[in-house]
């Protein structure tokens, strides 16, 4: 099976001119914004709702519905915040989208701002994306000079400012309420919901927080309509999505595919198969926070419903591939170390549980585990899952639970042998 469809988000990737505003406008850029300026805010929201666009940051919440929750009669300003804190392990599609087509993000942001009556939008970019922050800085300057940002955008009486804000290395800030704390000048710790950001977000004002890919999908929906958007993808997961595929794969990269495309197509037809033609052992559908699946799940369609039915989550669409020479215990230990490092420390189950799990997994991975370590790992998973403020903890628990669920025999083998069956003898860790 091959895939043939009209590329959307990536259609101009071969043309470096679109990075500049003139090249972008030559390809029809900012036309959608002009259209949106002639629409009622409620009409914009309704169009995005009808298209069925779902948030691409991981949760898959319907974007139009999110916008519709924003009250515009509170007397407070409203804010659009672009979540460009892309940090989910294995995910880099937002980075490449901005690298190659930064104005589309600004246009989508401006349309979202019109939809909720926002006059100041913020882009929160992770600090490590220094190069992309410069791409955006330049694009923002060009958009101001071109009259698409600032006072009276596109010849109307609507004002819109965009402020670029750089993070400083904290995965948790991709969580929307932690991002708001960070943007307000506090430690990036999540807040209890409700109140949801739509009602009380940035500076306690109504706020929409959207992922980069989500906002970049908006201009085409305005320009071509919801029916066009629904021509690709599935009924419940319409449109296309950028998948990042990495790890043991011949051609790692970011690839746009209609939602609902099976992993087999992404892995074998698009990305050239597992590195060296080896068997597929395990993979994450959407970054390390989504439960691992196995080679048996290769025909899983990559849409929100099908991946959930297979026992995982579509997440950010970041597929990390492990082959039959990779140790799952090692991988689980490395992923858990990430959560232990990135846990913000607010909630005890996450702060203590990830710390503990990292150590127990490390012991098993290095061949010093005992039989009782497996129930300990299971117990930690149970006590972290759904017991913290935010989804970081659930992601950590997903690693523990899914690796044991699918690869229990591999954990047991480590304990039985007293060493990692995948590591050569000379690599053994000394006591």
């Amino acid at each position: 099976m091959t895939v043939s469809f009209e590329r959307r988000l990536t259609r101009d990737w071969d043309d470096p001119k679109v990075i500049g505003i003139d090249g972008y406008c030559a390809k029809g850029g900012y036309e959608a914004l002009r259209n949106a300026l002639n629409m009622e805010p409620s009409e914009i929201v309704e169009t995005v709702k009808t298209a069925g666009l779902r948030g691409r940051g991981g949760a898959g919440f319907p974007t139009g519905t999110k916008w519709s929750f924003v009250p515009t009669d509170t007397g407070k300003p409203t804010y659009v915040v672009v979540n460009f804190d892309e940090s989910e392990p294995g995910t880099c599609n937002n980075r490449e989208l901005v690298d190659r087509d930064p104005h589309r993000l600004l246009e989508g942001t401006a349309i979202a701002a019109l939809a909720i009556g926002c006059r100041t939008a913020f882009v929160y970019v992770r600090g490590e994306y220094l190069a992309q922050s410069l791409v955006l800085e330049r694009a923002i300057r060009e958009a101001y000079d071109g009259g698409y940002l600032g006072r009276g955008i596109a010849g109307t009486d609507v004002d819109l400012d965009v402020v670029l804000h750089r993070g400083a290395g904290a995965y948790i800030c991709g969580e929307e309420t932690a991002l708001l704390s960070s943007l307000e000048g506090f430690r990036g710790q999540p807040r209890l919901r409700p109140p949801f950001p739509a009602v009380e977000g940035l500076y306690a004002s109504p706020t929409v927080i959207n992922n980069v890919e989500t906002l970049m999908s908006v201009p085409d929906i305005i320009l071509r309509g919801p029916e066009w958007f629904r021509q690709l993808g599935t009924e419940k997961s319409p449109g296309t999505k950028l998948f990042t595929i990495s790890g043991k794969v011949e051609r790692p990269g970011n690839y746009e595919l209609p939602l609902g495309t099976p992993l087999r197509v992404l892995l074998e037809d698009v990305a050239g198969g597992v590195l060296g033609g080896r068997p597929l052992k395990a993979w994450t559908p959407g970054g390390s926070s989504t439960p691992l699946l196995t080679g048996d799940h290769i025909d899983t369609a990559l849409d929100y419903e099908s991946v959930a039915a297979a026992g995982s989550l579509l997440g950010t669409g970041a597929v990390m591939v492990l082959d039959d020479t990779d140790c799952v215990v090692d991988a689980a230990q490395r992923m858990t170390r990430f959560y232990a490092h990135e846990s913000c420390g607010k909630c005890t189950p996450c702060r203590e549980g990830t710390w503990w799990a990292e150590r127990v997994l490390g012991r098993v991975a290095d061949g010093y585990g005992v039989e009782d370590d497996l129930p300990v790992i299971e117990d930690l998973g149970r006590n972290i899952m759904f017991r913290a403020f935010c989804a970081l903890a659930d992601g950590a628990a997903a690693v523990l639970q899914s690796s044991l669920k699918h690869f229990r025999d591999e954990f047991e083998e480590h304990v039985r042998l007293g060493r990692c069956p995948f590591r050569a003898a000379h690599e053994e860790v000394a006591v």
């Binding site: 294995g90 410069l134 750089r166 400083a168 000048g185 990036g188 990042t244 595929i245 990495s246 790692p252």
Partner: protein, 192 residues
């Protein structure tokens, strides 16, 4: 001697002005980058000065500075080498790249800065360039598909006072320069 004075103090005011009136506290992160760009790390004096600018206590600013890994609170090498060892990079050999970086930069176990003051080497979490793993950032400029051998070459280049061309974006000459860019300011002498 104050950290932020003269032109730096003017820049601090410009940074504060980016945020809505009454929301000046939002400027804390870029201000910390500004401080870091002067001393090469966020010093005690720097924390106090940022607090003074924003009408906060030093403790409030320190609480923020200690939360984020991109602020360095202790003296740091001229160049910061970050090697991603998260899963996607480890699957492509990142552990060997990290070892090579430590060895070439002569940063011993437990050391934060090499004896010559040139290097700080970090084992990093996902840097968002999984498509070109293993990923390395030198002063937050990206180098793609780095082998241990290439890692040694990059360190050797920095020792010879060359700034290796990154895979994308501009070359960044030092950790201080990177901090200036991260504060949203231009680096003097660098092409716009």
């Amino acid at each position: 001697m104050p950290v932020l004075e003269g032109a730096r103090l003017d820049e601090a005011k410009e940074i504060v002005g980016r945020y809505p009136e009454g929301r000046e506290r939002s400027a804390i992160m870029p201000l910390l980058y500004l401080v870091q760009s002067v001393d090469g790390f966020v010093s005690r004096d720097g924390l106090t000065e940022v607090a003074g600018i924003l009408g906060l206590t030093t403790a409030e600013v320190e609480a923020v500075a200690t939360f984020y890994t991109m602020y360095r609170l202790r003296p740091t090498g001229t160049h910061v080498v970050n090697v991603c060892t998260n899963l996607a990079c480890t699957l492509r050999g990142a552990r060997e790249v990290y070892d090579a970086a430590r060895e070439a930069a002569e940063v011993r176990h437990g050391q934060e800065v090499s004896d010559d003051g040139l290097f700080t080497v970090h084992e990093e979490e996902c840097l968002g360039v999984c498509d070109v793993a293993p990923a390395v950032q030198i002063n937050f400029a990206n180098h793609d598909r780095v082998s241990p051998e290439r890692m040694r070459e990059l360190v050797a280049a920095l020792r010879a006072q060359e700034v290796p061309d990154p895979a994308r974006g501009p070359a960044v000459g030092s950790f201080r320069d990177a901090s200036r860019v991260l504060a949203g300011l231009e680096v003097e002498g660098a092409p716009a």
